[in-house]
Amino acid sequence: MKLISATVAVRSAREPDGGVAQHLRRWLQSLGPLAVLIVLLLVFEIARHNFLTGGNLAAIAESAAVPVILTTGLSFVILLGAIDLSMEGVMAASSMTLSLLCANDVNGNHWGVWGIAAAIGVGLAFGLVNGVLNTILRMPSLIVTLGTWFIGLGIASILFPAQVPTVRDPWVLGIAAYHIAGLSLIVFVALLLLLLFHLLLHYTHLGRMIFAVGGAEATLVMTGLPVPLFKIAAFVISGLLAGIAGVLLSARLGDGNANIGDGLLFPAVSACVLGGTLLSGGRGGVLQSAIGAVVLEVLNNGLIQIGAGPYVRNIISGAVILLVVAASGLHLRRKLRVVK
């Protein structure tokens, strides 16, 4: 004993108390966005009494379906601490591919299901390129995906025939046309994907490692784990889901459209952050992000319902995003906290 020098150790700036209290706090934090959602619903219901009608909720579900899919994919990349801006381009490309390969009114193709597969494959390929450029060539994801965004739009405009290709394929149209309990198949596809990728994130090695990369990438590299693979996988998932979203949207429109993804990216990013999937990575998950997406849809729908003009709508939704994010992060404020 005498030989052991007394030491004083410095510890991480704020010592968590550990144990139950911590778990509880974490749990409550995860409920934050849900609370926001409920509040919004109530507010709009009070403002307009027929807001919480089945019809309107169904409408919200329909318009939330695709954003949920997009945020699910995006979440995987954001969990890395990276970002994927390419989705609008990817959707444009996959929409064009789909409408030109499935039975349509501009060319003789009728690949049917294979057309769908091909369109989704396009998304997958984009994800792969993003991942490789980011991890192997070590280019920042922000700029890589910005580039592939343009490339996606470019592919769409090269593929575009003289006229808007109308999809005739019953399979494709069926996705949007077939209804169960007043909801189109698209909604159920979204739910299925959400569940699927939630499980992937929490019950597979890959999912947990993607989660871990956002927490301590250097440690994983040092341990000798194939970190680049995990990262590429995350980008591939993001691309894949963007591809699927492109397919679903064209199915819903019944034609191929190069602007199909316009204005979906930034809401998706906001949704992730709203839901608690922080841009710094390693926090949150697909369910949280999905809630964020639903919040935005409810907000949008509600503002249309109460007759707010489009310009006012921009202002309000921007303000709400800021408020919610600020409020949910308030308890984390520290003098030495670094937020970029």
């Binding site: 704020r14 968590p16 550990g18 911590q22 927490g215 784990l225 390693g282």
Partner: protein, 506 residues
């Protein structure tokens, strides 16, 4: 004793630099090998090579007489080689269980699918093995530092079950961040492992080496200069072997040079409490006085210093500097008032990575050498920085080298220089300044601090070891649970024994 591991002429070069030359080392079951050397003596490189983090550029490694190539840490793990890192190597946002099996296969993770309950059970077993009570479901970042350290240990010791033959455990300065109790636990584990495993133990604390290891290997400049049983060694001989020069004995202090009471204290703190430390602290520091703070991790010594520097949230109490009350709402405010702080975690809070020495040193007070303190004068800054680089004996190619390229000791010197080149620094807070420094570098540091104090700079100093406190301070205050539990004025000759201090601490 069966021989487990042998390195034959293992060497390592980074670019044109030789970090390790022709290292022959034999490691046998049931022995603890103490490995010592100054920063940059190549011992950490050696450790990394054995741990699979670095591949040797020459020579070969034999495991049970069979040559092996370790491609990564997990590869080493699979061969039964585990390494306890100086900085924790845990993933903060994963559960304890996942961290324990991060680098190891486990039935509960087969085919990339997690069977959580089985994983938790397996982890619980590992934790039980080393008598730790932590919920394997807990997320690591929710744990206290001490708990995390234990998880780290459990993670490494889990290699035991991975291989049939005895494992090899490497400890890279594990004690530098531990409290006495934690060190005791660690040593108990090492004693337990001794029966079955081979252990390499690296530390700058010579008495720890002498205490725990059977054999000591001393390295300098990438070569082995001594390999002897500890029975043949003592602190002084070890020190000489490491540093290569006699230990500079502290100049005998002129007793009662500056009776602190006689003039207004440089710093006068009353009832200072932070969000975490409820019990308010009160103390005064005289100009030119070096005050040593001692205390175990929860004592609140760091919180006290960080609060003085405005780095703690919701701080209460009054702080007077030279009799005038100041409010340090932020580090910037503290700096304005003339308070400096040498952080314990220099990598995160001390140095600007990727920047040159000058840029690092001129960051805070460079403008004092500019025109009217408004316009930057790079030439002047450079001159002053270079002066300090020589004064602090920073080993560097030039003042424009990137700070990352320096060894820990020299980095620390540069960070200190950032504060010392100020003309208006009143009070300097040193938070574990010697962490990760070899004795040589530490003595350089102490020498400069003493001379600055002699010029009137007041210093508050949180020590790594009791030895350092007695070595440097004019006055020692022991803290326990955020309050002063004892005070000794070394100038008045009442030098406490280590027992007194430890008793006051715990």
């Amino acid at each position: 004793m069966t021989q487990l591991l042998e390195t034959r002429g293992v060497g390592k070069t980074f670019g044109r630099v030789t970090a390790l030359e022709q290292m022959d080392l034999v490691l046998s079951q049931g022995e603890v090998l103490g490995l010592v050397g100054q920063n940059g003596s190549g011992k950490s490189t050696l450790l990394k090579i054995i741990g699979g983090l670095v591949q040797p550029s020459s020579g070969e490694m034999l495991l049970h007489g069979k040559p092996v190539r370790l491609r990564s840490q997990s590869d080493a793990t699979m061969h039964g080689i585990g390494m306890v890192h100086q900085e924790q190597s845990l993933v903060p946002n994963l559960t304890v269980a996942e961290n324990i099996f991060l680098d190891k296969p486990n039935a509960a993770k087969a085919h990339g699918l997690y069977r959580w309950n089985r994983l938790f059970d397996a982890a619980a077993a590992q934790l039980r093995k080393i008598e730790i009570d932590i919920d394997p479901r807990a997320t690591v970042e929710d744990l206290r530092f001490a708990q995390r350290q234990q998880v780290e240990l459990a993670k490494v010791l889990a290699v035991e079950d991975l291989v049939s033959h005895p494992p090899i455990i490497l400890f890279d300065e594990p004690t530098s961040v531990l409290t006495p109790d934690e060190i005791r636990l660690l040593f108990r584990q090492i004693e337990r492992l001794r029966q079955t495993a081979a252990i390499v133990f690296v530390s700058h604390r010579l008495d720890e080496i002498l205490h725990i290891s059977d054999r000591a290997v001393v390295m300098t400049d990438g070569c082995k200069v001594a390999d002897e049983p500890v029975t043949a060694l003592d602190r002084e001989s070890l020190y000489r072997l490491m540093v290569g020069r006699q230990r500079t004995i502290r100049a005998p202090r002129a007793v009662e040079t500056r009776p602190a009471e006689s003039l207004t204290p440089r710093l006068d703190v009353t009832g200072l409490s932070t969000g975490r430390q409820v019990r308010p602290a009160t103390l005064a520091v005289a100009p030119g006085e070096i005050l040593g703070l001692l205390g175990v991790q929860s004592s609140g010594a760091e919180e006290f210093c960080r609060a003085l520097f405005g780095a703690e949230d919701d701080v209460h109490g009054t702080i007077r500097l030279n009799g005038k009350q100041i409010s340090v709402t932020s580090p910037a405010a503290a700096v304005q008032a003339g308070i400096g702080y040498l952080p314990a975690n220099r990598h995160v809070e001390g140095m600007l990575k990727g920047r040159t020495l000058v840029e690092n040193m001129a960051l805070t007070f460079g403008l004092d050498y500019g025109h009217r303190g408004m316009i930057v004068n790079r030439r002047a800054e450079r001159r002053v920085a270079s002066e300090w680089i020589t004064r602090l004996r920073v080993k560097t190619r030039s003042a424009d080298a990137r700070i990352d390229d320096l060894s820990g000791g020299n980095q620390q010197k540069v960070v200190l220089g950032k504060w010392l080149l100020s003309r208006r620094l009143q009070l300097l807070l040193l938070d574990h300044p010697t962490r990760g420094l070899d004795p040589g570098a530490r003595d350089d540091l102490f020498a400069v601090i003493r001379s600055e104090a002699a010029k009137g700079l007041s210093v508050i100093f949180i020590a790594d070891t009791i030895g350092e406190v007695l070595d440097l301070s004019d006055r020692v205050i022991v803290m326990r649970d955020g309050a002063m539990s004892a005070e000794y004025n070394l100038n008045r000759g009442d030098a406490p024994s280590e027992e007194d201090l430890v008793r006051a601490m715990v």
